[in-house]
Symmetry: C2
DNA sequence: TTGTTATATGCCACAATCCGCATATGCTGG
DNA sequence: CCAGCATATGCGGATTGTGGCATATAACAA
């Protein structure tokens, strides 16, 4: 997450990859992949992480351009960034689908 | 790269993602994606990293199961792991193709 | 206003990663 | 054997990521 400038494709790719390379964040992306909105409290409960950690994890996903948020009363609803490039979407899908497909020989 | 046990799909996914989340390693995977063998000396020259660094980067890719190596006289030839699962291959392809496709608005 | 719930952030310690440098190891050729 | 090229590894220091804790901010409800 040390990337600060997403000017070039390489940096953008790296920011996405490192954003996904964390159990909590990958789990959050899996949850968000249903296309629905999810508040931080739901995500932290589902993934078993503390509130402050979940908030920071979501900030990383947001900064990488993978998720967007919206204020809704006391809640902040996160969802997948609807303006994802085709390549970003492919990358996310590949990462998220990975786990679910080979649960057999775990 | 803190992952030590690749028992479950989650850990395997994370190890692949963090292995790819580095300029030198992603660059190496892009080079290896031509399906040919490449020695460390070639990779370090192409990517502009020192010898010891390149060696360690390749060790990370190997440990993540993305590449395999072969002794050939004084050289060690790296190539893509031919036994990649379909999901692993999809993940790698998505990451490697990312950069090359959006060179326009960089 | 006060209290409560939800979320974000400042701070600090710890762990993981990264890098360069020196050196070890493996192989070849003389 | 020795010299030289290619690769791997031990080590120490710098950078980065992570986690918990406390606290700030935002919105709501009474």
């Amino acid at each position: 997450m040390r990337i600060v400038a997403y000017n070039n494709p390489m940096q953008r790719t790296l920011s996405i990859l490192s954003a996904l390379a964390s159990p909590a964040r990958l789990g959050a992306m899996r949850i968000l992949s249903d296309g629905q909105e999810h508040c931080v409290c739901e995500l932290m409960d589902s993934l078993g992480v503390t509130q402050s950690r979940m908030s920071r994890h979501m900030a990383v996903l947001k900064e990488a351009g993978l998720a967007i948020d919206r204020r809704d009363a006391q809640w902040v609803r996160y969802r997948l960034n609807p303006d994802l490039s085709r390549q970003s979407a492919a990358l996310i899908e590949a990462a998220v689908n990975f786990q679910e497909q080979e649960t057999d020989h775990a």
